[in-house]
Symmetry: C2
Subunit: 406 residues, 2 copies
Amino acid sequence: TVNGQALWHDLTTTAAFGGTAKGGICRLALSDEDFQVRAWFEQTCKALGCTVTCDSMGNQFARRAGLQNDLPPIMMGSHLDTQVTGGRFDGILGVLGGIAVLRALHDADIHTRHPVEVVNWTNEEGARFRPPMLASGVFGGVFTEEFAGSRADATGVTLQQELERGGFVGKERCGQHPAAAYFELHIEQGPVLEAEECTIGVVTGVQGMRWYEVVVRGRSAHAGTTPMPMRKDALLAAARMIEQVNAVAQDYDPEGLSTVGIITAFPASSNVVPREVRFTVDLRHPSEDMLQGMEEDFLRRMQECAQAADVQVSVTPTWNSPAVHFDKRCVACVRESGKNLGYSMRDIVSGAGHDAVYISRVVPTAMIFVPCWQGISHNEAESATQEDVAAGSNVMLHAVLKADQE
Amino acid sequence: TVNGQALWHDLTTTAAFGGTAKGGICRLALSDEDFQVRAWFEQTCKALGCTVTCDSMGNQFARRAGLQNDLPPIMMGSHLDTQVTGGRFDGILGVLGGIAVLRALHDADIHTRHPVEVVNWTNEEGARFRPPMLASGVFGGVFTEEFAGSRADATGVTLQQELERGGFVGKERCGQHPAAAYFELHIEQGPVLEAEECTIGVVTGVQGMRWYEVVVRGRSAHAGTTPMPMRKDALLAAARMIEQVNAVAQDYDPEGLSTVGIITAFPASSNVVPREVRFTVDLRHPSEDMLQGMEEDFLRRMQECAQAADVQVSVTPTWNSPAVHFDKRCVACVRESGKNLGYSMRDIVSGAGHDAVYISRVVPTAMIFVPCWQGISHNEAESATQEDVAAGSNVMLHAVLKADQE
Ligand SMILES: NC(=O)NCCC(=O)O
Ligand SMILES: NC(=O)NCCC(=O)O
């Protein structure tokens, strides 16, 4: 079994890199804080006897040699970047839980057949460089390196520039790294496991998710002289659209989700009727068919709002991650390990995207969820217990050992 | 009469300082572009035999000596700063129309009793430093110098810092400058004069205007895992509030106006339900009583929206400029000049705030409006004809000469 105290200690140590006053973490991908935690990752894994390398997208691989080093490694991992007001577990647990597995193997002097690796994937959150899961997407063949490298943050700095600044452009081309299996441990980020008092979620797949950018164009006008009926107010139209985006999920199906996360209005002056508003839309559903229906409903509502308000609207799809079903044998490794260890469990579909989504396209993959407090995530108040995270890491240890036998 | 061609030439020349591709001007207060036009102002007025000074708020005064230089000057003026996507006439016409009057006096070698001055007031628009009419507000005793100097733009730079950077902190304390009368020429910025085919608007006063900042606080949450009924979405609540802000004017009274111009959402990530949204509100009405009623209606609607969406809301008043009635004798000078010159005219109440609003608190004041194309303003398409702006400047010339006799 893994050392739960050491895992908790690692979680506390790394929370200092970008730690916020409210107890959360602000550690955007390839920021100075991210560079700090990457240095910690390298040091810590080397102390456990691993070699640490990085690929052309800055993905870090810590490798513990096996008995047959010509076999492809069994990988674990997730990401160490966070949201702007992120929590202490999202992503981090998957990497540190992997290190806890390395430590358990190290301390018990266990020799696996395959090499065992822990990976830290670059820019999972999509908070700094959109879309999310960018470097695991390159690994999985979904995005080109050129596309990923050219993604710019809000200030115009690109991912490639930041990789170079941090010295994280490795020689190995992203995606060339072999792997026999991939396991990702994560907090659920939703309310189900806690409500049902389950310690372990056996993740069978991930719901579909689609992103859009909506641009609304009206006419700027003086706030003090333009009669209300003469206005083409892009922000008023956008406000009605945001209401309708939310209605898509609320009216359609209890499993659907729709969210507007970013909005900007131009020219942004108190006494000017806005002429242009941009906002992002995130639609999700576990069923691709239902998601397709939501998209059509959403597009229709946007046109209706624009017509009623006499403004122009354009909607551009910016990301589409179809629903995923994980590898049956890897899922079975997780389920059997949880059963053998005697934890309360249930199958679950992930609402959030994870690096596992894209890795699953090229490597047999499964995920393990543990409960988080009140299902709150992407929030500084995100929280999980020492017992639960140790349990999750334990299940991962035994899943890795099972996969090593296959 | 003024030289209409020279006035048009000046309007064209100065439009280059901050000129935009769409034919408008972006010349924010105390930006480099504003410094350029200020240098042009000084040069041009000196060439007409004026002395040019500036006070502690960076207001520039170009003075043409009179026969009795112990008499307080008759002032004309407006502002040379613009909105981010501003037009070529808003404010600029009042300063350049004043220079056209100086030129007419100079060319005809007319000697007035009083000195005659043209003023360029700092930061009228409120686009860079909020609130609007900031330096004329200090002149009129409405704001302290400390308050005005400490106002910061969106990047945190203060007005005082920018005054110092440009060398525009004059020795004369703002408000100490004497004046016998103040005339401000401006485009109407609304549709009335054009629709009624009037060349001159005799401005009898300015409507009341109030600004607020609204802060909505919800709870940030993961867009992919948080069921719709469990969300406290600050942006969805704000969207409903924006609809209600607009409804205040639409439901209340045809003369009322309500506008949301600026909105920001936090943490601004596509896959995070926003936890905090801030937006500005601008309410206007020619009657203070009606405006008070609008305010109460607005505040009630904000509370109702917040309650329905289970979020917190706070509303802070940030500016209150009560309805203004201009000086009867100055208004009569404008009306009689227009009549004598044979222009079609009507009385009008200004929908926009102007430096004249605050100057009128300490100096007898009136304003002259000329039509603008389709009533469009605070927009790069803002436009007016050479004939109309010359007519307005002519009326100002004769109003100044009339006031000089009183
Ligand atoms: N796990 C996680 O929060 N990933 C971000 C991608 C998403 O929006 O689901
Ligand atoms: N004239 C003008 O547009 N001034 C800005 C102040 C206002 O918002 O009315």
